[in-house]
């Protein structure tokens, strides 16, 4: 029989005292070792990649990237305990998807509780599709409100692209080609998924495989009878389907 392995934990919070508190609560648990601390979202993405901790204590409101954006960028779905002081929206989502979270300030008893649950889940992690992971998946996918930044993982780096800079998005197989300032970023995602997340008053799916940013639309061209194309400010042309044209006419 082997000894139960120690849990390696990463503590992510931009407030020093908040991290201190979690460390203090963890001292009582000899089987948990804090392997790192991060004070912003980008750092957290890096550390999660490098350390691959068993458990992440993750604050929701953080500079650079929010907790949920960290999960999106890292693809991490399990072994996460969320912490938040107050975020009505996030809390509703946690409840909906049965994801555990700690409301600051939290008691030691509440903390131990959450840790115990995480430990059990970790032990059962060998079984795929644990309920926690599914809940987190849903949480990340439907982040509520509208998407303001698009995260693109490029090897070790994470690019953060404000949506207003995006000119258009094209579906290419399993990937999205996101055009920004003449550059093209690839992101593994379905076009219907990102369409749902974007603000419908600013972005429009004009074609089965194209979404355009209306702010970058310069003209609607008519290359042939019953055919339309959008010319963007960058000069790029994007085909418009018949239904896309109807939607565009309503909006513009």
């Amino acid at each position: 029989m082997t000894l139960p392995s120690r849990l390696r934990a990463l503590v992510v919070d931009d407030e020093d005292l908040a991290r201190h508190l979690i460390r203090e609560y963890l001292q009582a648990h000899a089987d948990v070792e804090v392997v790192g601390e991060c004070e912003n979202g980008l750092d957290a993405v890096k550390q999660i990649g490098v350390l691959n901790p068993d458990l992440v204590f993750l604050d929701i409101q953080m500079p650079r990237l929010t907790g949920l954006e960290v999960l999106e960028a890292t693809g991490r779905r399990s072994g996460v305990i969320f912490t938040t002081a107050y975020d009505e929206h996030a809390i509703k989502a946690f409840e909906l998807h049965a994801v555990d979270y700690l409301l600051k300030p939290f008691s030691r008893a509440r903390f131990d509780d959450a840790l115990a649950r995480a430990r059990t889940l970790h032990a059962a992690a060998a079984a795929p599709g644990a309920s926690q992971a599914q809940g987190v998946e849903a949480l990340v996918a439907r982040r509520g409100a509208t998407l303001e930044r698009i995260l693109i993982r490029d090897r070790e780096q994470v690019h953060v692209i404000p949506v207003e800079q995006v000119e258009c998005i094209e579906a290419q197989g399993d990937y999205l080609a996101i055009e920004v300032d003449g550059k093209c970023h690839l992101k593994p995602q379905r076009i219907s998924e990102i369409e749902e997340q974007l603000d419908p008053t600013r972005f429009l799916r004009v074609h089965r495989s194209f979404i355009i940013n209306l702010a970058h639309l310069q003209a609607i061209e008519r290359p042939g009878p019953d055919r339309h194309a959008a010319r963007l400010r960058s000069g790029k042309r994007v085909p418009i389907s018949r239904s896309g044209y109807e939607k565009l006419r309503e909006l513009v």
Binding site: E15, A18, Q61, A85, Y86, L103
Partner: protein
């Protein structure tokens, strides 16, 4: 612009009334056998039109002499002069019309105008204009009263808005719960600091509650409140947050609406310091110069930070509040460079009466 001229419908009815009066006047002339029907109408209708606009000019004469600032000899001579001039215009217009339309076009004067009629026309024009002046005076007084009432109602609504906003600040749940979490952390290893932070938090809320009920507070009071706020935030953000408040003694005595400075600091932390990796210093300068109170807040911002949605709402609120309380006399401007955000508020100096 004159209220009648500004409204097409009113203008139409007004002109119709004048034309009706013109017809009445023509009937009088006919009765008096001074003219035949055609001549009388050709004479009175154009005159009524000219006259209808002439008396409206009384509005501007009255406006040039606001009631509260009138020096009566000046006003009386102005009113008398204007009426005199108007009488001459009436007489001149009548005579010219008679000559041009009657003698030249028709070959016969529209109406007989003996010299006794000259005096009548002149006196009629004079009296009518004087009446118009008095009527306009009453109208303007009425408008002023209405205006004052409306402005008062508006400022009452906005005062309530400000109060609501303050209540929201008082119970900013983010600030409260995070502060409590920090206190909870401090109790484990620095009980004295935990106690201090508890007191700061209590003081901040107590002062906010007390100040929210007042319309104006001194900048000094606002600074004290802000210092409690900063003390709490410094505990939360540690070395990341530093602040320098330079408030001249004269500026500290100036009055301003409560919660003008504190939200600026809150913004500076939330959208500035917190997003910058190494943190930074918020610099506040307040001084009085040439009868104006200048308050400037400068803080570093993250270079690659995209202004998150919601940023700017707080600033817009402050701008609106100041606009209501000060009208055009308050100025608020902000600008963001790559690494810095600067905001400046200028208010006319207003000091506590010597009570």
């Amino acid at each position: 612009m004159h209220p009648i001229l500004a409204d097409a419908r009113k203008l139409l009815f007004y002109e119709l009334a004048w034309l009706a009066a013109g017809v009445g006047f023509a009937a009088l002339l006919r009765l008096d056998e001074q003219a035949d029907w055609v001549g009388a109408l050709c004479f009175t209708l154009p005159l009524a039109l000219v006259w209808s606009f002439d008396v409206l000019s009384a509005y501007y004469v009255c406006r040039s002499q606001p009631y509260r600032q009138r020096r009566w000899p000046v006003t009386l001579s102005l009113f008398g002069g204007a009426s005199l001039l108007s009488g001459l215009v009436f007489l001149g217009a009548g005579e010219a019309l008679n000559y041009l339309g009657g003698d030249i076009v028709r070959g016969k004067a529209f109406v007989d105008m003996p010299s006794a009629a000259w005096v009548m026309y002149f006196l009629g024009g004079f009296a009518l204009y004087l009446l118009s002046l008095l009527g306009h005076d009453v109208l303007i007084a009425f408008e002023t009263v209405q205006d004052a009432a409306r402005r008062e109602a508006e400022s009452r609504v906005l005062a309530r808005d400000a109060e609501l906003q303050m209540l929201r600040t008082q119970i900013n749940p983010h600030f409260l719960f995070n502060s409590l979490n920090s206190i909870s952390a401090l109790t484990g290893f620095d009980p004295a600091a935990a106690r201090e932070m508890t007191v700061d938090l209590a003081q901040f809320f107590r002062r906010t509650l007390a100040l929210a009920e007042r319309e104006r507070i001194t900048l000094g009071e606002e600074v004290t409140l802000s210092e409690h706020f900063l003390a709490i935030e410094k505990r939360r953000f540690g070395k990341k947050l530093a602040a320098q408040l330079r408030v001249s003694p004269e500026a500290a005595q100036c009055l301003l609406p409560p919660m003008t400075l504190q939200p600026l600091l809150e913004n500076a932390i939330k959208h500035g310091i917190r997003q910058v990796d190494g943190g930074g210093t918020i610099e506040v300068d307040a001084l009085v110069r040439d009868g104006w109170l200048h308050i400037a807040v400068v803080n570093p911002v993250a270079r690659d930070d995209t202004p998150a949605s919601g940023h700017g709402v707080g600033l817009k609120n402050i701008r609106e509040r100041l606009a209501v309380l000060y009208g055009q006399r308050a100025r608020i401007a902000w600008q963001r460079s790559e690494t810095q955000f600067a905001i400046e508020i200028n208010l006319p100096v207003d000091k506590e009466a010597g009570t």
